[in-house]
C-alpha cells in the first residue's frame, strides 16, 4: 500500500483537471468535485473546451455589442424613435411577416398535400420542381418581378401597346413597390420551406393512425381535422417559424422593392452614419425575433408527437377525380410564377448581356471575389464546427449545450445586426482589420456556422461514441481520436456543411454591402446596384451564376427532408 501512495503522488503530474495533488486545499477539492459533477462523462480537456468557448464568444460578441450600444444610445434618441419610427416599422414589419407566413403556409401545405397524397399527374417530378425556387435568392426574384410588373416593366408595355386590355381590365394599376407587391413576391420565394417540411412529414405519416380513426367511426372529414392536421402541426409550425424568421431578416428583396422594414431601416440609418439609432432599431428587431423563437419553442414543447415506427404503412393516394385538372393548373401556375418566370427573365437579359459583352474581366473579378470570401467562410466553418459539435455530442453538460446554443446567435438574427456589431467592434477596437475582406468572411462565419454544425452533427450522430472510447482505451488522446478516427468517418457531412455555408455566403447581401472594403464588389453586391440602375443585362448573368452554384448542394438539402 505504501508503494501505491508514493505512485499516486507522482501520478498527480498527469492530472488535467483543476486542483489535483494530495496537498490541494479543501476548497479546490470541493470546486473540482462540483466541476466533475457537471459532466455526464469525464470533463473535456481544457484546450478543447477553451477552443469551443472562444468560438461561441466570437459568434455572440457582435450581437451583444449591438445590444450594449443600443442601451447607451441616449434617452432622447430612444424617445424620438419610440415616438414615430418604431411604431411605423413595427406595423410594416409585423404585418408583412404575418401576411407572408400565412400565404406561404396556404401555398406550401396545399402543394405538399397535392403532391404527396393525391394522384396528381407527374407527382414524382412536382416534388422536385416545386422545391426548385429555393435556388433563387428572393432579391433576385424581386428584381425579375420589377422587370415584369414594375413601372417600366413588360406588363406596363403590354397595356400601352394593346388598348383592348385597358378597355377590358381598366388602366394598369398594379404597383409592385407596395405592400401587396412585396407580400406576393416574398410568399412566392418562401413557400418552399413549408412545402419541404410538410411534405416530408406527410410522407412519413403512418396510415395506422388514420385506419384506427376510421375504425372508431370517424368520416374522412373528421379524420382530416382530428388526425391528419394535428399530426402535421409540428411540421406546419416549423415551416411557419422558418418563413417568418426569413421575412424578419430579409433585407435584399424588401429594399429592392423599396418597402421599409426594420432591416432596411437599420441599413439606411447606418448608411447615414447614425449608428446609435441603428443599434436602437436592432434591439427592437432582436426582441421581435426572440419573441418568435420563444413562441415556436413553446408550441414545440406542447406538441411532442411520436410516430411509431414499428409497423409502417404509407398512406394511400387519394383520387382527385374532377379536381385533377384544376389541381394541375394550380400547381403549374405556382411553379410558373416562382421558377419559370424569374428564370425566363434572367435568361432573356443574360442573352442580351452576353451579346453586349457583360462577361468581361470585371464580371470575373466580382465572381472571383465572391468565391474567395465564400470559400474562406466555408473552410473556417468546417474547422470551427468540429469542436463545437464534438463537445455537444460527446461531452453532454449544461456548459456544452450553452456553447452550442450561443453559436446560433448570428444565424437566428438578421444579417444587418451582425454586420452592425462587426462595424462597432472592428471600427473601435481592431481597426487594422476594418475595411478588409477578411471581415466579410468572418461575418459569414458568424451568420452561417450553424449550417455546418447541423450537417456535422447529423454525421457525428451516426458514429458510435464507443468508437471514440475504443480509440481512447488504445492510448489515443482526445485530439488524436478526433483527427484520426472521427474525422474520416464524418468527412462527407463536414463537406456537405461547408457546401451549404459556401452557397449561403455567395448569396449573402446585407452583410456584404455593409462590411465590404471600398471597391471590393461581389456578384451579389453588383446585382443589387445594377438592378437599382435598371442595368438588368449586367445583373442577370451574375444572378444566373449564383443560381447555378446554389444548385450544387440542393440534392443534399432535399434529401435531408
Amino acid at each position: 500500500m505504501k508503494k501505491t501512495q508514493k505512485e499516486s503522488g507522482k501520478l498527480n503530474d498527469h492530472n488535467y483537471e483543476i486542483g489535483g495533488g494530495t496537498a490541494s486545499p479543501a476548497i479546490l477539492l470541493y470546486l473540482q468535485k462540483k466541476w466533475i459533477g457537471l459532466w455526464q462523462t469525464n470533463p473535456p480537456g481544457i484546450f478543447l473546451l477553451s477552443f469551443g468557448t472562444v468560438i461561441a464568444a466570437i459568434m455572440a460578441i457582435p450581437v451583444v455589442y449591438v445590444i450594449w450600444r443600443s442601451v447607451f444610445a441616449g434617452r432622447d434618441r430612444w424617445l424620438r424613435l419610440l415616438d414615430e419610427r418604431i411604431p411605423q416599422l413595427l406595423w410594416s414589419t409585423l404585418s408583412l411577416t404575418i401576411a407572408v407566413t400565412i400565404l406561404a403556409l396556404i401555398i406550401g401545405v396545399s402543394l405538399a398535400w397535392l403532391v404527396i397524397r393525391t394522384d396528381l399527374p407527374g407527382r414524382k417530378y412536382w416534388r422536385w420542381l416545386l422545391a426548385m425556387p429555393l435556388v433563387i435568392p428572393p432579391y433576385v426574384g424581386a428584381i425579375t418581378y420589377i422587370n415584369v410588373f414594375g413601372r417600366s416593366g413588360v406588363m406596363r408595355d403590354l397595356w400601352r401597346d394593346n388598348p383592348w386590355l385597358v378597355r377590358v381590365f381598366g388602366e394598369y394599376s398594379f404597383d409592385i413597390h407596395s405592400f401587396l407587391g412585396v407580400f406576393l413576391v416574398l410568399s412566392l420565394f418562401t413557400y418552399q420551406y413549408v412545402f419541404l417540411i410538410v411534405s416530408a412529414s406527410l410522407k412519413k405519416s403512418n396510415l395506422n393512425y388514420e385506419e384506427a380513426a376510421y375504425s372508431l367511426g370517424m368520416n374522412a372529414k373528421e379524420v382530416f381535422w382530428k388526425v391528419n392536421l394535428p399530426l402535421l402541426r409540428p411540421a406546419i409550425g416549423a415551416g411557419a417559424i422558418l418563413t417568418s424568421l426569413y421575412v424578419l431578416s430579409d433585407f435584399g428583396a424588401v429594399s429592392i422593392l423599396r418597402y421599409v422594414t426594420f432591416t432596411a431601416a437599420i441599413y439606411f440609418q447606418r448608411a447615414g452614419f447614425d449608428t446609435a439609432s441603428a443599434s436602437v432599431l436592432s434591439l427592437v428587431l432582436i426582441i421581435i425575433t426572440l419573441a418568435f423563437l420563444w413562441v415556436e419553442s413553446k408550441s414545440r414543447k406542447k406538441n411532442k408527437y411520436y410516430q411509431s415506427s414499428g409497423t409502417f404503412k404509407s398512406a394511400p393516394v387519394l383520387g382527385l377525380g374532377k379536381w385533377k385538372w384544376p389541381s394541375l393548373i394550380y400547381v403549374s401556375v405556382m411553379f410558373f410564377f416562382s421558377f419559370v418566370l424569374p428564370m425566363a427573365v434572367l435568361l432573356y437579359w443574360s442573352k442580351i448581356g452576353l451579346s453586349m459583352g457583360a462577361l468581361d474581366s470585371r464580371f470575373w473579378g466580382f465572381a472571383f471575389n465572391s468565391f474567395k470570401i465564400s470559400a474562406m467562410a466555408a473552410l473556417v466553418c468546417m474547422i470551427f464546427m468540429f469542436p463545437i459539435v464534438y463537445l455537444k455530442l460527446r461531452f453532454p453538460s449544461v456548459i456544452t449545450r450553452l456553447i452550442d446554443k450561443i453559436c446560433y446567435t448570428g444565424y437566428a438574427l438578421p444579417g444587418v445586426i451582425v454586420a452592425l456589431g462587426f462595424i462597432f467592434i472592428f471600427n473601435n477596437h481592431i481597426p487594422f482589420l476594418y475595411g478588409t475582406f477578411y471581415l466579410v468572411a468572418l461575418a459569414y462565419v458568424v451568420r452561417f456556422l450553424p449550417q455546418a454544425m447541423q450537417a456535422g452533427e447529423s454525421a457525428l450522430q451516426l458514429v458510435s461514441p464507443r468508437v471514440d472510447e475504443a480509440a481512447k482505451s488504445l492510448g489515443y488522446p482526445t485530439w488524436k481520436v478526433m483527427l484520426t478516427v472521427v474525422l474520416p468517418n464524418i468527412l462527407p457531412g463536414v463537406i456537405a456543411g461547408g457546401a451549404l455555408v459556401f452557397v449561403s455566403s455567395i448569396k449573402e447581401l446585407p452583410v456584404t454591402l455593409m462590411l465590404r472594403p471600398p471597391g471590393f464588389d461581389t456578384l451579389a453586391v453588383r446585382i443589387y446596384f445594377e438592378a437599382h440602375e435598371a442595368l438588368y443585362y449586367l445583373a442577370a448573368p451574375s444572378a444566373l451564376l449564383i443560381i447555378a452554384v446554389s444548385m450544387l448542394p440542393l440534392r443534399y438539402i432535399l434529401n435531408k427532408y
Binding site: 508503494k3 501505491t4 501512495q5 505512485e7 499516486s8 501520478l11 498527480n12 498527469h14 492530472n15 488535467y16 483537471e17 486542483g19 489535483g20 495533488g21 494530495t22 490541494s24 477539492l29 468535485k33 466533475i36 459533477g37 457537471l38 459532466w39 455526464q40 462523462t41 469525464n42 453538460s397 458510435s464 464507443r466 468508437v467 472510447e469 475504443a470 480509440a471 481512447k472 482505451s473 488504445l474 492510448g475 489515443y476 488522446p477 478516427v485 474520416p488 468517418n489
Partner: protein, 357 residues
C-alpha cells in the same frame, strides 16, 4: 498481491439522486476471469466504465497492477491506463481494415509480428484486408478482442460481448473467448445480464443489484449457495419459503418441516430466514409425497416450466415453480405429488432487500 483492487467506489450521475454504483469493493487476481452480473440498469456497465476511466467516481479508489488509477485527488485518463476494452457493439473503426484495426494502438517496433500473432490467436488470418462491414458478427467480435489484446493490456474489459450474437454462435464464442483469454493469461472483467454467459465463462461472479454488490463467488457457489433472495432469483429461478431458526441453532422450522442447517451458518437463534428451493430439486410423481394441483405450464422445449399449488404439511397452500421433463403430459387442474430433494436447498438472510425484490 491482488491485480485489481476496487475500494469503496461510488458514482452518481448528474441529475440523479441515487448512486449508479454505491460503496463497491472487490479484488481480482492476475489471470482471473470475473463477470459482473446483474439486471439492466444495476450499475454494472458504470462500474466497467469507471475501471476503464471513461467516467470518474466521486468516492473510492481503483488500483490496477499496483498503479493508483483513480481516487479523490488523482485521476489517470483512459488513454494512459493500459486497459483493453471490448464493446457491446464492438466499436470497430469503420474506415480501417482488420489489420489496421488490430494494430491501431500498438506502437512498438515489432508491430507487424505482434498483429499477426494476435490474428493467429483469434483465428482471423486471411481476413487482414477486409473492412469491418465485410465481416460476420462473430468475426467482428474476434477483431474487437484482438484489438484489445494486441497491446498486452493489464486487464481487458468486455461489455456484454455476447449480446449481439445469435444463440448458436453465442455458445461457441463463450468457449473460444474464454480459451483465448486463458491462453494469454490476461485478467478479464466481463459485464453481463445473462446468467448463462456468467456461469459458463467466469472464474468468479460478482452479482450486482441497484448499484450494490449482492454476492461474490464461484459460479457453483453463486448457483448453489445464493446468499439472498435477489441472487437466488436472478441466477436461475427459485421457490422461497419462510422459516425460523430453532433455539438449538442447528435447524430451521418451515412449512415443509424441520430442515438441518449446514455447519457454520451465519444465523442466530429465532431468526426469520428464507429457504430457497430450486425448481429442479422438486421431484414429481403420481402418488407419493406432498399433494399439489397444476395451475399453469409453459412448454420450453428442453423442459416444462410448471406452476403448482402445493398443500404444505403445515396446512397452508403455497405456489411452487417446478421444472419438468419435456415428455411429461400435463393438464391444468391435474393432481401431482411432490418430493423435495435435500440437494440445492439454500438458506438466505431476510434483509430489506428481499422484501423489495
Amino acid at each position: 498481491m491482488d491485480h485489481i483492487e476496487i475500494t469503496n467506489l461510488t458514482k452518481t450521475y448528474p441529475g440523479t439522486d441515487k448512486p449508479a454504483v454505491s460503496h463497491v469493493s472487490f479484488q481480482i487476481k492476475k489471470g482471473e476471469i470475473i463477470t459482473l452480473l446483474g439486471p439492466s440498469g444495476c450499475g454494472k456497465t458504470t462500474l466497467l466504465r469507471l475501471i476503464a476511466g471513461f467516467e470518474r467516481a466521486e468516492k473510492g479508489s481503483i488500483i490496477i497492477g499496483e498503479k493508483l488509477m483513480s481516487d479523490d485527488t488523482s485521476f489517470i485518463p483512459p488513454e494512459k491506463r493500459g486497459v483493453g476494452m471490448v464493446f457491446q457493439d464492438y466499436a470497430l473503426f469503420p474506415h480501417l481494415t482488420v489489420i489496421e484495426n488490430v494494430g491501431f494502438g500498438y506502437k512498438e517496433e515489432d508491430k507487424k509480428d505482434r498483429v499477426n500473432e494476435v490474428l493467429d490467436l483469434v483465428n482471423l488470418r486471411g481476413y487482414e484486408k477486409r473492412f469491418p462491414h465485410e465481416l460476420s458478427g462473430g468475426q467482428q467480435q474476434r477483431v474487437a478482442l484482438a484489438r484489445a489484446l494486441a497491446r498486452r493490456p493489464l486487464v481487458v474489459l468486455l461489455d456484454e460481448p455476447f449480446s449481439n450474437l445469435d444463440a448458436d454462435l453465442r455458445d461457441q464464442m463463450r468457449v473460444e473467448i474464454r480459451n483465448i483469454i486463458k491462453n494469454t493469461n490476461t485478467t478479464a472483467v466481463f459485464v453481463s445480464h445473462d446468467q448463462k454467459d456468467a456461469l459458463a465463462i467466469s472464474d468468479r461472479i460478482i452479482v450486482i443489484n441497484e448499484g450494490e454488490i449482492q454476492q461474490i463467488g464461484t459460479p457453483k457457489e453463486i448457483y448453489q449457495e445464493p446468499v439472498n433472495h435477489f441472487v437466488s432469483n436472478f441466477v436461475g429461478r427459485t421457490n422461497l419459503l419462510p422459516g425460523t431458526v430453532l433455539s438449538d441453532n442447528k435447524s430451521v422450522s418451515t412449512c415443509l418441516g424441520m430442515i438441518r442447517l449446514p455447519e457454520g451458518h451465519p444465523f442466530i437463534k429465532e431468526e426469520s430466514i428464507g429457504v430457497a428451493v430450486r425448481p429442479e430439486s422438486i421431484h414429481v410423481s403420481e402418488k407419493d409425497g406432498m399433494p399439489a394441483t397444476v395451475k399453469s405450464f409453459i412448454f420450453k422445449g428442453d423442459s416444462i416450466d410448471t406452476v403448482v399449488a402445493a398443500k404444505m404439511p403445515c396446512g397452508t397452500e403455497q405456489e411452487l415453480i417446478l421444472s419438468l421433463h419435456p415428455d411429461k403430459e400435463l393438464q391444468t387442474g391435474q393432481q401431482v405429488y411432490l418430493t423435495i430433494l435435500p440437494k440445492n436447498i439454500s438458506f438466505l438472510k431476510m434483509t430489506e432487500n428481499n422484501q423489495r425484490t
